[in-house]
Symmetry: C2
Subunit: 306 residues, 2 copies
């Protein structure tokens, strides 16, 4: 049932979660903004499970560990923050747990060093169930950020930082580089109205920006960059995969039309820019193909329970 | 194998985890102390699993949710901090997941309100495995804290804040009140040299203080307060349960002998004080019964994997 999805639960939770001075932007963005004694902190947390986000025995433990950290760094990047410390909680299967934990850390530690993220704590457990990893990353907002999902305005241009689709079969969902540096370079180059990392698929993730910003977004089909990991074939099939495969972990962001032109003529070093659409008055997500423009559903990945 | 336990892994991890300016006290205390741009933050995180920390179908979901938050508030209390925000990550079994998540939140929300802890984020997932809950709590250190495990000195007196043992069968491991208020009252009343919350059992938890502080600790058998939840019977049996049952979530702390006398003559309002032993030069844990004093193992609960 569509109304029994993860999102509906989060919606219900948001409605009953009163705004609290410790958490000024509330739940539901890429990372939480905490305000304690006048200082702001970003916190991202993701739980990844065997059989859902990776498959133990198929995905090497090093790649599993790397992914579990990288998705959280990507969430901090989506707020244009700087990651600082990580917390690793593990439910390890009893059989083979020691080799697994060694592999997980062997995969995540080099990524932590690359982004100067300290191992600050966690909780290591063994049980009779499958592997579950929860990573929490604490970061610092960088002025004039943090960048939420809610600031897009009609007339804004929508960009993504790389090609999309085909991430799962190619294992790019484990090997991707979180766009932390790119986000900081963009933040320094232009006022970012809204930003999100593309984890659930472009269609789903842009619909979050549209809804949080109270706007609509028009995606221009021929501008969506399709990743080389998507097998060649029918064009509309490849487009659908770029829109819905998910786990690309590129950034999507919105800037004014003036800033868009400025970024395109002088892009920040090391940042790939793909203009894919625009923000419009109204609501929802539309796909424009030539003269044809029609609403599309958010049909990306979502967890369901009944 | 004893050398394949959770602790050995954490030891190995600590040895290879270089000190980092973002995490000045390193891993392995009750909560992490983060230092970002001059400000300090406490972070506690615990992963709890069906069949290990609770049993879905036996333990009501409300009590499971309450416990998952309470154990983290207890970790913040053990540093004499003030909890401020929480992050709830869930791996929900697909079947019955919606009722389960409602119950979990119905149990944890009143406790969050009692301690003024904001729901700031999390990650809600469904899968085919058993329930896994990871809670992260962010808190503020309170001057002159935070109180680590490492500051006990020979001559210090060891106190606990309540009777111990029998927590699991009575469900007290789910219904306990985290000692946040008690910790802050004690912090205001006396310099606390070391503190820990009693999750793994008094013997295990005091051995952490002894090791981190480079001291020994002598427990006086007849002073250990045995909880009424422990069935009456053989005295040494009841003592063993108070030493090793675990999940009491009382605080154990060390203060100078002078401060100990002062606290006993004028205890902070609402704080139960049980003097149970003393810190000595040397190492390890000893149990004194009359004239007899002998080393004891840390024989509390520990997770094993092979």
């Amino acid at each position: 049932m569509a109304d029994d999805s993860e999102w509906d639960w989060i919606d219900a939770l948001r409605k009953r979660t009163a705004a609290h001075p410790s958490a000024p932007i509330g739940i539901g963005d890429d990372a939480a903004l905490l305000r304690c004694a006048g200082r702001e902190t970003l916190v991202a947390t993701d739980m990844l499970m065997d059989g859902v986000d990776f498959v133990v025995g198929e995905t090497p433990p090093e790649l599993i560990g790397r992914k579990c950290l990288a998705v959280n760094l990507s969430d901090i990047a989506a707020m244009a923050g700087r990651p600082r410390a990580m917390f690793i909680s593990l439910a390890l299967p009893r059989r083979g747990g020691r080799a697994l934990v060694e592999g997980l850390y062997a995969g995540l530690e080099p990524l932590a060093r690359e982004f100067d993220v300290a191992l600050a704590g966690g909780d290591t457990n063994a049980w009779d169930g499958p592997l579950v990893v929860n990573v929490t990353v604490v970061g610092e907002p960088v002025a004039p950020g943090p960048v939420a999902r809610s600031g897009a305005r009609p007339g804004d241009v929508v960009f993504v930082t790389g090609p999309l689709g085909g991430s799962l079969p190619s294992l790019r969902h484990c090997t991707f580089t979180p766009r932390v540096r790119e986000a900081l370079a963009l933040l320094a180059a232009a006022p970012l109205h809204a930003m999100i990392d593309l984890s659930d698929g472009l269609a789903t993730d842009l619909s979050h920006i549209a809804r949080e910003s109270g706007c609509g977004i028009v995606i221009e089909a021929e501008r969506v960059p399709v990743h080389a990991d998507v097998p060649s074939g029918d064009h509309s099939d490849r487009l659908r995969r770029a829109l819905t495969d998910g786990e690309d972990f590129e950034l999507a962001f919105c800037v004014s039309a003036n800033d868009a032109a400025r970024l395109e003529s002088d892009p920040p070093a090391g940042v790939a820019l793909h203009r894919i659409g625009e923000v419009v008055a109204g609501s929802g997500l539309m796909l424009r193909q030539g003269a044809d423009q029609r609403p599309i559903d958010r049909t990306g990945w979502q967890h369901r329970f009944a």
